[in-house]
Every structure is written in structure tokens, then in C-alpha cells.
Amino acid sequence: MFGILKIAFKLLVNDKGKFTALLVGITFAVFLMIMMTSMFAGILARSSSTVTNIGAKMWVLDPAVNNVSSSIPMPDYVQDAVRSIPGVRYAVPLYSGGAQVKLKSGIYQGVTVIGLDDATLFGRPDLMQGKIEDIYAENGFIVVNDAEFKKLDSPKVGDEFELNDHRGVVVGIAKANTSGLFGVPTLYTTYHRAITYIPSTRFTTSYILVQPKSSSDIPHIKLEVQKLGYQALTDDEFIQKISNFYMYQTGLGINVMLMTVISFIVGLSISGQTFYTFILENLEKFGALKAIGAKSRELISMILFQAGFTAFLGYGLGVGLASLIIMLAKLRLPDYAAQITNMNLGIAFIMVLIIASISSYIGVRKVIRIEPFDIFRG
């Protein structure tokens, strides 16, 4: 079988024009599919950045909340009730809200303010500069050094700003595991200071962060929180809820899916058409091979090999090209959200397999039907 596949390989790659067209078609399709889906994956990852960065095991929230930035404040008794649920090791409040910061330059910049529980500072970020206890200092704020850091004029420890006519002082610079989605810088302060500086509704607790005693306590905690009229989610469930919101309720998912399908159709059209032409041009030769003594399964294996080889090479080139473009884009654009996940690669791989299958099916059909007698008849 190796020899016949080598013949198939030579027939394919020695037809440089068609081989190039096939490769370009598949590479382009894979490139587009990877770009589309990786941008979507990046957007979804960023949409849950607060959940990831805070790192709480469980989140208690209003059931109507579908993303972190649109929290619905809860009354204080909920926190007390959650703390009294058996299986809860501890539960602390978290404030999350938006505010306008006036920089030294006089420019206003919208920010997200995260208020950490005063007693525990649960969910605090890792600091690059400064000390975490300085958050308790007068007007102390920690600035997250993410993609939006420059929008605050790249502040240093000791720099000052105004927040709703309150003085704010940068007491630390924090690392960010994941940048946010909306292009807004993030400030951390204490819960008490956050609700004091930022105008708020009657209730102030955006979320309650819960640490269960063990994983087996989670179902029970969820049930008890549900009885209170609220929802308790693990961090993964909350991330999934946010992803579902962006995927199914914002039009983002359907648009990205459409673009991915279009990329697939483009790839299928180019490579399917080119492969079909390639088979048609060699059809008489395949007929001659049949007359000489090649079995149908040998001819089918030749076609499958040609389609598979082109598909996998095109897949590799497409993934490589997309990775290169994303890497270069991230060097120039820190806000660029695309990230290649195993799922992106898997989706593109399945799409390429479908392209290769359809292309080879067309070829196989033709080759199986060719009769050696037609070669004699001319």
C-alpha cells in the first residue's frame, strides 16, 4: 500500500498549481475559523475576568444576574443567612460597581471598583508593587496592571486621583490574571470605602463569596441559598452562566457562528472545487490504473490519502498562521482578546475533516464509477 500512496503523493504535489490552490483554500478556511472562534473564546474569557481574578469557590447572586458587571445588590441579611448554612466555612461580601475617576491630567476615565471584605480582604489580587495592608490606609486603592492600565496614565504607588470628589491614592499595583472585556481599568479597595465613595442603592452587597467546608457541601449550600430566593453557583458555573449570556442573549455567539460557517463554506468551496477538478483531470488515468489491475479500494485509498494529506497540511498551516497573527496582534494591541483554546482547534479540525471527507467523497464517487472500458472506447 505504501507504494500506491507514494504515487498518490507524487500525483498530488507535482501538480503544483492545484496543490497550492487546495492548500490555500484549506489554510485560509482554517485561519478564518481559528481567528473567529479564538476571538470569541477570548471575549468569553474576558467577560468572566472578575470571577477568575477573585478566585472564590462559590458565588451567591441574584438569579437575574447574567454577567459580573450587571450585579443586583442584595440585602445584608442574605450574607448572615448564608454564613449560618451548615457547610459554609466563611462568606464575605463583595462590591462591584462602576465609577468615574478624574486623573491628574484632568481627564475623566471610567473604572470598575471592586470592594473587598474589610476584615479578610478575600479575593485580593497579587501585588507587583506596594503592600496589601496599605489598602486600609486613608483613600487607599490598588490599581490592576492589565491591558487598560495605561488609561489611568500608568500610575505609580503614591499617585493620586479623584473619585466622586473623594481623593484616591494608589497604594499598590496588582497583577491581573485576565483582563476585562469592556476596556475599563480596575481598582481594588475595601468594601466599606467602595460603598462610601460610590453612590449606591439601598442594598450594597453585589455578591457574597462563599468558601464551602468541602465539595460535598456545595449541593446543600445551593439548595439553602435557593430557599432564600437567591442563587449559589460554583466559579465554573458562574463563568458558564456569563458565557451563555454572551453566547445566546447578545447576538455575539450567532454572529461568530455565522462567520465560522462562512469560513467553512469558503474552504469547502475552494478545496472541494479544486479537488474535483484534480480528480476529473486524472479520471482517465485512474481508469487506466483500474484496467491495469488496480482494485477500487486502492484507488479510494489514493484519493483519501490525497485529501487527508492536503487537509492536515492545510490545518497545520492555518493554525500556525492564526497563531502568528494573534501573537503579533497582541504585541501591538494589548486589548486584543483572541485566545486559541483546545476547543477552537478541535472545531477547526472537525471542520477540516468534513471538508476533506466531502472533497474525497466527490472524487471517490467519480473514480468508482469510471469503467476501464471507457478508456478503451476513448
Binding site: 490504473l289 484496467a291 491495469i292 476501464p372
Partner: protein, 227 residues
């Protein structure tokens, strides 16, 4: 006494049904012997190619049988038939059907590769056959770089590479000028024919009739002279 290469008995083939039925070959019987060149001649549409296809295991007859070494080839399975063609029959097609994307030597090696012969060994043997047809120096050129006569010789080398008992030529001179055509058939008679091989040539080129050991004339699907 020459040994029998192939025996066809009562071969018939028709296409279409009812009013559209066309009889291409009508109850034809003949024999071909090892060590001879047998011509099947006749005007276009006389059934020569259909007959050739039936005795070479390519087109199933509606009636009759083709015996080779005492076995009816049309009782074989499709895989057995493919193996029969690969091992017993060598084809030289009218348009040669050489792969333009392969080198000349790779084209010649195709039957050997189909016989699962190792790649390097196939190339070595193919070079020997190219040497026989006088084209060893053209081994690594693509067939499109060769003249019509040279391509014909490459096709012959490919046909004999699997050491078949029966060599079938379909209109071997149709794409060649008269002189080249004669030289090719002369070459075949001198270098390719041997006592263990039968060569069947379908042609209507009377300029090469002189090289035949026997000639079968066909008209309207029947043998009108020669067997």
C-alpha cells in the same frame, strides 16, 4: 504446436434494450496462441475494441466465455479479475495514458507497485524495461517531454513490466506517423514477442498488417475472415 494463450467461445455483447439494443459483438469465437502476433482488424464500429475488452477482463460479455489456462475469467470475483489483469495482461492504450506528473520510470513501475513490489526494487526493474525499449536515458523526464513514439515505447515498457502472458495493443499506430508506427510494431515483434507471450493488436492501419502472424477481420460484430 503452439500453446493456447486464450480461447474465446460464443462471445456476445450488446448495449441497450428493446429498440435501442445494439449488438456490438455477436457470437464470436476465436483462439490466440503464445508466441504469435494476432491482429483484430476491421472498420470503426465493427466490435474490435469491445471484443478486446471482453477477452482482457474489462467488459463482461452477455454470453460466451473466455478461457485462460482452462479457467473462465468471467467466473472470477472482481478482485480476482483485477489480479488477473495485473498478472496476465499488459495493456498499451491508444492514448498511452501515462501520468504526466510522474517521471517516465515511475510510470513504467506502476504495475510493479500495484503488485506490492518494494518502491526501490520497482524503480530498478522499471529502469531495466526502459533499457529494453531504449529509453533508459529518458527515465527521469516526465512523459510530456517525450515524442509520440517514445511515449508509445514507455507504454510498452509499462505493459511488459509485470511480465504478462498476453499483451494487448489498442490502435498502436493511431497517434503516430506511418514510419514511426511501423518501427514500433517491428520493435515489438523483434524484442517483445517471445514463445511465452501472445500479442493481440487491434488496428485498422493496413500499413502494419505485414507484421501479423494471423489476422482476424471483423464486421458488424462478427468475424468475417481469419479464424
Amino acid at each position: 504446436m503452439k500453446k493456447l494463450a486464450v480461447e474465446a467461445t460464443g462471445l456476445a455483447k450488446w448495449f441497450g434494450e428493446g429498440e435501442a439494443k445494439t449488438i456490438a459483438v455477436n457470437e464470436v469465437s476465436f483462439t490466440a496462441n503464445l508466441g504469435e502476433i494476432l491482429y483484430i482488424v476491421g472498420p470503426s464500429g465493427s466490435g474490435k475494441t469491445t471484443l478486446l475488452s471482453m477477452i482482457s477482463g474489462i467488459l463482461k460479455p452477455n454470453a460466451g466465455q473466455v478461457l485462460l489456462e482452462g479457467k473462465d475469467i468471467w467466473r472470477m470475483s472482481s478482485d480476482e479479475l483485477a489480479d488477473f489483469r495485473l498478472n496476465k495482461i499488459g495493456f498499451v492504450f491508444q492514448d498511452y495514458h501515462l501520468f504526466s506528473r510522474l517521471t517516465t520510470v515511475e510510470n513504467v513501475a506502476i504495475p510493479l507497485i500495484l503488485k506490492k513490489c518494494d518502491w526501490d526494487e520497482s524503480m530498478r526493474i522499471a529502469l531495466e524495461y526502459l533499457d529494453i525499449v531504449g529509453l533508459k536515458d529518458r527515465a527521469y523526464l516526465p512523459p510530456v517531454k517525450l515524442s509520440g513514439g517514445e511515449q508509445q515505447r514507455v507504454a510498452i515498457a509499462r505493459a511488459i513490466a509485470s511480465r504478462p502472458d498476453i499483451l494487448i495493443f489498442d490502435e498502436p499506430t493511431a497517434s503516430l506517423d506511418g514510419d514511426t508506427g511501423r518501427k514500433i510494431v517491428e520493435f515489438v515483434k523483434q524484442h517483445i514477442l517471445n514463445e511465452n507471450r501472445c500479442i493481440i493488436i487491434v488496428t485498422h492501419d493496413s500499413r502494419i498488417f505485414e507484421y501479423a502472424d494471423r489476422i482476424i477481420h471483423m464486421e458488424d460484430g462478427k468475424i468475417v475472415e481469419g479464424d
